[in-house]
């Protein structure tokens, strides 16, 4: 599709936003001034599940408003997959902390006082808090299952029958795996400002998806498209947390702005942000593997359940990613996968880097690790014997179309981490103090939207426009949130048109100015949006060349031609014809292409305190071709750090629907002391589906690191680690094999 690049696109350039950010001059939403701005706070439920019997509101001082669901001008449902999530509770609440009112006015103290005088009388209903209870409840009444999918490859049932007939010939290994809640903990808390002038609502705020917010407000405000404008402000981290929730926050400030006639701002404080916003879905998976006499997995049965919280939101799509990677990077001939997303009376879960992938990959990777250890095989060798390759079929019957370089990647990861040397040193476990362990993971991540999302739902459109000063405006709705999009997408234009990066204008998106190139999610910005930007740039270039040729043809002495019309090029996504997907039956290519990774993690475990220290982390990635190697490396290192947090430190529990850790004091994310140097390398494997061969990158590093960490702890202690986060407390309660129990100090 593309010519081999002459210049090397991967060569790092300085990020366009680096110096503004280092110097503190970059402005985030809370740093901006608006004339006549008033503040808003939310009144939230203090029970998990109840009918609202009555409410008593205080007298309001002048200049203050209380907004209830009755003030929502349009539909009081957030526009998502199934529109089940109300902005403001109507006659029932379904989780602790569910917003019921917005209170707005000039003085924060006064707002506080008004909030304290609101009284809501509840009639409580029996809540459901856990996956197990939700599954039980779903057997008794409707409404506790958001989604229940089954996908198949080959004929798992036959393999199970064959095993039943000749049990001696086969071996069955089973495991149950679980993962916990995770908070995004972007450093910039969520914030939005709404203004309402001349019948038009304008939103400014921290977000990943300006057009999602727009769609949500058009529906909630009942306004025409041209009366809702969304402007993204520089976003201090997202990780998926600013995919779904900004639509709600934008609604709150918009309702209050319309009711008060004043610009309204909400910037959440950290505790509010943790309590209100979505989280990573906890998961519970059971995996059963049937092996033949050659130690090959011939059948796999996977059952995975996600806890979706009180409203469906994006849960069904998150679940799809979990089940589509149920057999990970492996070619298993006969597979049955069931996935369910259940409803509980907990804060709704949502998008988070990896989007269901990490939960699925954790289960399959820990299962493969368990099988290898039970068989006495090296996990790397055992996994390598099952690698997917080009032409193989995925669990949905899609085709792996591009080269798969897993063998090469595994070799490189082994070399970087001195895998073989250390393996021989580790054979004598009982003599090791502290306990040392090593884990390896191999993983896959589908690039772009799941299923037919790009083709049927998003229909991304990008534009390029020539500006009077000769610069070129890049018109996309994708945002810079730290991942480097403003630099990498500019690089594509700059490289194609052979103009300096500084001649490409790419301001924070404003829906009045840019077309809908889709949300900044799903590792789609580089591959899908970048691909369109490249296409648009190539066309722009050819128009420009025609113009130059045209002007050269005008004879000398003739009057100069009229100045040409400024060049404008728009490009819309077209699904490559060979990619097919049945969205009803989940058959076909769930993704156009895949990124791949291998991680190795070394740990030591203190025999007394059971504290785990990460001694080394190595990552080898196939993201096609990095659009900027330094930016890609930063994504990999950052994703690894976040994944190590999920696997180890980041404990987030709910007691009767209330978060126990609701601040950065109690919810611990990794510091510089919790991580070693992280060694990252890339294998070049240009994809035909992305610009310069680029594939998705942002989520990939998160996907595989937790199982490598957990496998390393398993290796150190000789006990399977089935559940994350792995805390010292959990390890203290573990039973060790005889002879391996550390002596007490």
């Amino acid at each position: 599709m593309e010519k081999e690049q002459e210049k090397n696109i991967s060569t790092p350039v300085e990020r366009v936003d680096a110096r503004r950010k280092i110097s503190g001059s970059e402005r985030y939403i809370d740093d901006m001034d608006f004339d006549g701005l008033i503040h808003a706070r939310l009144y939230t439920s203090d029970v998990s599940r109840a009918r609202i019997k009555s409410v008593r509101l205080p007298e309001l001082p002048e200049g203050y408003v209380i907004v209830s669901w009755k003030d929502v001008p349009g539909k009081n449902r957030v526009k998502m997959i199934n529109d089940d999530w109300p902005f403001l509770a109507e006659d029932e609440v379904n989780y602790y902390g569910e917003p019921i009112f917005v209170v707005a006015g000039p003085e924060p103290e006064k707002i506080e006082e008004i909030l304290s005088k609101i009284h809501v009388e509840y009639q409580e209903l029996p809540p459901v808090y856990t996956i197990e209870d939700a599954l039980e409840a779903s057997g008794e009444s409707d409404g506790w299952l958001f989604a229940d999918y089954t996908i198949r490859k080959g004929d798992y049932e036959s393999v199970e029958k064959a095993f039943g007939r000749e049990p001696g010939k086969y071996r069955v290994i089973e495991g149950t795996y679980s993962t916990g809640l995770q908070e995004h903990a972007y450093l910039e808390p969520q914030g939005m400002v709404a203004t309402y002038r001349d019948g038009k609502v304008t939103i400014f705020g921290s977000m990943q998806c300006p057009y999602y917010v727009k769609g949500a407000l058009v529906q909630a405000l009942g306004l025409p498209e041209d009366r809702v404008q969304i402007v993204q402000t520089t976003t201090g981290g997202g990780f998926g947390g600013k995919e779904d929730y900004p639509s709600l926050l934008a609604g709150y400030v918009a309702f209050a702005a319309i009711k008060s006639g004043k610009p309204v701002k909400i910037v959440l404080d950290r505790r509010e942000d943790i309590r209100l916003t979505t989280k990573r879905h906890p998961s519970l998976a059971h995996v059963k593997s049937i092996l033949d006499e050659n130690n090959r997995v011939v059948g796999m049965d996977v059952d995975i359940v996600l806890d979706g919280g009180a409203y469906e939101g994006l849960s069904s799509v998150v679940l799809q990613r979990s089940i589509f990677v149920a057999t990970g990077a492996y070619d298993i001939p006969n597979v049955r996968v069931r996935g369910r997303a259940v409803r509980t009376n907990n804060v709704p879960r949502g998008a988070f880097r990896g989007f269901g992938g990490p939960q699925g990959i954790f289960a399959i990777e820990m299962q493969m690790d368990r099988i290898a250890r039970e068989l006495g095989l090296d996990p790397a060798d055992f996994k390598a014997a099952h690698f997917l390759g080009k032409g193989d079929s995925t669990v949905t019957g899609g085709v792996i179309r591009s080269d798969v370089k897993l063998d090469e990647m595994l070799e490189l990861a082994k070399r970087m981490s001195s895998y073989e040397e250390k393996r021989s040193n580790r054979s004598n476990r009982s003599n090791r103090r502290p306990f040392h362990g090593r884990g390896i993971s191999v993983f896959i991540h589908g690039c772009g939207f799941t299923g037919s999302g790009e083709r049927d739902k998003i229909k991304a459109r990008v534009g390029l426009r020539e500006l009077p000063d000769g610069k070129v405006a890049l018109l996309v709705a994708n945002v810079e949130m730290g991942q480097g999009a403003q630099t990498t997408l500019r690089k594509i234009v700059s490289d194609t048109l052979d103009i300096p990066i500084s001649s490409v204008v790419y301001d924070n998106p404003d829906t009045d100015r840019v077309p809908d190139s889709g949300p900044t999610v799903a590792s789609r910005t580089a591959m899908i949006v970048g691909g369109l930007v490249r296409e648009a740039s190539l066309e722009f270039k050819s128009v420009l060349e025609d113009r130059v040729v045209g002007s050269a043809e005008s004879a000398p002495g003739e009057p100069l031609k009229q100045p040409e019309e400024p060049i404008e090029v728009f490009k819309q996504y077209r699904q490559p014809p060979e990619i097919s997907w049945d969205d009803e039956k989940f058959i076909g290519d769930a993704y156009p292409d895949y990124s791949w990774g291998v991680n190795v993690v070394d740990v030591s475990v203190d025999p007394v305190t059971r504290e785990v220290t990460v001694e080394g982390i190595w990552g080898v990635y196939d993201i096609g071709v990095p659009l900027d190697e330094a930016i890609a490396r930063g994504q990999m290192q950052g994703g690894i750090a976040q994944g190590i947090g999920w696997a180890s430190l980041e404990v987030m529990e709910e007691r009767e629907g209330r978060l126990v850790q609701d601040s950065l004091t109690d919810y611990i994310i990794p510091t510089s002391m919790d991580l070693p140097d992280i060694e990252v390398d890339f294998v070049m494997n240009p994809s035909p589906y992305g610009p310069y061969g680029a594939k998705g990158a942002g989520e990939l590093p998160f996907v595989g690191i937790a199982p490598a960490y957990a496998a390393a702890v398993s290796d150190a202690l000789g006990v399977p680690m089935d559940s994350i986060p792995i805390t010292p407390e959990k390890l203290l309660n573990l039973k060790f094999n005889k002879g391996e129990e550390p002596e007490s100090a």
Binding site: R19, S23, G24, G236, G238, G482, M673, L675
Partner: protein, 168 residues
């Protein structure tokens, strides 16, 4: 924004003497951001955990979200806005930009302040020292390695800047 009795607090802010009539328990962070418009100082957690609000108080790093403004009376406060005028800052800006130490940027000014606090104590830190020196600041984007490299680079290229202006 605390109501109640205010008093006049005088301190040196980014090199200039300033006075403000304020409740002494008001957070230094709010005074800096809202009374002086110094928005390079960020609020990430509001309880002294994340370091986004880091400033220098008499050359030592503090989290301005847990410092009552009354305690800075008669002292010297330097925010990123003041620090960015120095030669040391220019070195750090270059080294951090070149080391790709910036992603979302919300924590970055705090890390610059942490780097200054570290280098002014120890102009030639090793990797361990740097990791310790910045351990009071949280970053969710980078995994810290590029920040550590950025500070290492600044020290390698211009440690004399921190040595020559020895502790005051």
């Amino acid at each position: 924004m605390k109501s109640g009795k205010t008093q006049e607090i005088t301190f040196r802010l980014n090199g200039e003497m300033v006075s403000i009539e304020v409740h002494p328990l008001k957070r230094l962070l709010d005074v800096l951001r809202y009374d002086f418009g110094l928005t390079g100082v960020k609020e990430g957690c509001g309880e002294g955990e994340c370091g986004a609000c880091s400033v220098l108080l008499d050359g030592k790093i503090v989290n301005s979200c847990i410092v009552p403004v009354g305690t800075v009376s008669g002292h010297e406060v330097t925010t990123i806005e003041g620090y960015r005028k120095t030669e040391r800052y220019k070195v750090l800006e270059d080294s951090m930009a070149e080391s790709s130490a910036v992603q979302c940027g919300f924590c970055t000014p705090g890390f610059v302040i942490a780097a200054e606090a570290l280098l002014s104590e120890n102009p030639e830190p090793d990797e361990r020292d740097i990791r310790e020196g910045i351990s009071g600041n949280l970053c969710r984007c980078t995994g810290y390695q590029s920040i550590v490299s950025g500070i290492e680079k600044a020290s390698r290229e211009a440690s004399e800047l921190w040595k020559s202006e020895a502790k005051k």
